[in-house]
């Protein structure tokens, strides 16, 4: 005779067996994650916990735990900081102009390259274009600093045209152009490849049909090519929004100097100087939190827009 107790007993054993059976087979899945999760906890999540120093007067001797709380003092100080508006403006101006100019250049280049019929030529140009992408900003800045120095290549070239040169990298008005142009130099090959990939995705029969209907090159460009890469443009635009506070720390730190802080100093470089040069950890952490907080919202908006307008998913 089976009593209710027996049944519950049996259910329990069978569910326990199921769990054991599942674990016997699937424990490696959990085991494999252990090293990654531990590193993530130490080097990603523990620093997130450390953000609390933005609300403290951090003292290295006392650590994250025991440094005294000061509430919003660091943030209030930040808002009153005369540079703060400038930092924010420089960051936005540099980031937005970099995205816009780079994408515009890349689209043009991709369209030009797409019209090239000689394969070898196309490949060589491509390979030259994306070489700088694989070089570090230290290397590229080293080259630029040499070329833009007082008797550097660029100054000499301008002089030979009768244009007086000036100290490019010491001129605050000129500095944003240096940043945008050198950014295009480094990244245009990569961005061009993305658009070229989108262009090869366009159905060639569309072009043949259009040619049969008497569409000339410009008309085919307007009615087939551009609509064909429009989703990619929208996608890059949406995702670009997430990086609108990233004006390029590596690049700016290697190219700027105190003479161009008025237009070149950005949030990230300020965090670096305040925190690691002047050891004002809490203030720097507050600026960092301000940036990563807004950045987090922006990235989520960006992903949301990208999934809505370009049906993009990370996975």
């Amino acid at each position: 005779m089976t009593t209710p107790a027996d049944i519950t007993h049996r259910i329990h054993t069978s569910s326990r067996q199921r769990v054991l059976g599942y674990l016997a087979r699937s424990w490696p899945l959990y085991f494999m994650l252990i090293p990654g999760i531990i590193l993530l906890l130490i080097f990603n999540y523990y620093p997130m916990y450390g953000i609390r120093i933005a609300f403290q007067d951090y003292n290295p001797g006392l650590g994250f735990e025991r440094s005294p709380w000061v509430g919003l003092k660091n943030f209030r100080f930040l808002m009153l900081l005369p540079q703060f508006k400038e930092l924010l403006r420089n960051t936005l101006v540099l980031a937005v102009s970099k995205i816009v100019v780079l994408q515009f250049t890349a689209i043009i280049l991709a369209l030009l390259l797409n019209e090239i019929r000689v394969r070898v030529f196309k490949r060589i140009v491509n390979q030259i274009l994306y070489l700088p992408y694989f070089l570090s900003w230290v290397v590229l800045a080293g080259i630029l600093l040499d070329m833009m120095s007082s008797n550097g290549l660029i100054g000499r070239f301008l002089n030979s045209l009768g244009i007086p040169s000036f100290i490019f990298l010491g001129n605050a008005k000129f500095f944003p152009y240096t940043i945008v142009v050198s950014h295009v130099w480094k990244d245009v090959g990569f961005s061009t490849i993305i658009y070229l990939a989108a262009l090869t995705g366009i159905d060639p029969t569309l072009y043949e049909a259009a040619a049969v209907d008497g569409a000339d090159r410009l008309q085919r460009l307007r009615h087939i090519t551009l609509p064909g890469i429009a989703p990619t443009i929208v996608l890059i635009g949406c995702l670009g929004l997430g990086g609108i506070l990233d004006a390029g720390f590596d690049q700016v730190l290697n190219l700027y100097n105190p003479a161009v802080y008025a237009t070149g100093d950005i949030l990230d470089t300020y965090v670096y100087r305040a925190g690691l040069i002047s050891a004002r950890y809490s203030l720097a952490a507050a600026v960092g939190l301000f940036k990563s907080g807004i950045g987090f919202i922006l990235i989520n908006v960006a992903y949301w827009m990208a999934s809505k307008f370009a049906s993009y998913r990370v996975f």
């Binding site: 130490i42 953000i51 140009v125 800045a141 040499d146 993305i194 952490a285």
Partner: protein, 293 residues
Amino acid sequence: MIEEKNWFSRFFDVFNYVVLVLIACLCILPLIHIIAVSFSSTAPSMGGFVTFWPIGFTMENYTRVIGAAAFHQSFLISLERTILGTAINLSLIVLVAYPLSKSSQEFKGRTIFLWIFLFAMMFNGGLIPTFLVVRKLGLIDSIWSLILPGAVQIWSIFLMMNFFRDLPKEIEEAALMDGASHWQILFYIFLPLSLPALATLALFAAVGHWNAWFDGAIYMTKAANYPLQTFLRTIVVQLDLSRLGVDPRDLAQLSNRSVKASQIIVTIIPILLVYPFLQRYFISGIRLGSVKG
């Protein structure tokens, strides 16, 4: 494709080739200039006479750079971090991507783990807290400070996860029927099938390690521990040669334009060596990134 021979089309083709040649030149000439300077003797390069061809050709700048002990040291540190760092990056990519590529039924708790990684990709503690953690762990002046903080490459993990998910399910199911464990499926089935993807991620990780300079600048207090890019930065960008602790005679040499240029070239040679491979995997890397796009 379509052949058209009206005058506009012809004019455009010529114009197109000319523009692209000019742009390609603009892109590569700075490098050629630096190469020319690096092979020029001191006087013409300091005087600013070198353009795209060496003046007073000499190999001396290179022998000086390569002969310097500080260069040797930092070159070896960079080599070590690139090899060790890439190996660790790849192991973690594979080990994390495999479980996450399973469905929630096969792998209970997948969603939670996925979010742990996703959140860490979207939000971070920022420079200062991260620096303080690395310092607190006693990693300052240790090679591990260059490897461990960025060891988990979350974006690459997601790319690999997508790649694993796109592998045909039937192979795995057949292996399961034969009683294969997850380890066996991963190492004998998944990994051999994903070698091209792994090669792509490995190349990008290696180039990232080779090119990294900022972590070396903040986590290393002694110049003797600088990786090559950080060392290069103190010479060509920061002009803070006092930190390097070299003797004054060498100092004058290091600030020599030609020597700086050869220093830059030597630093990018490893990149140039893998460039043919980079190119091959470049496009596939972008495709990998747009799987599920």
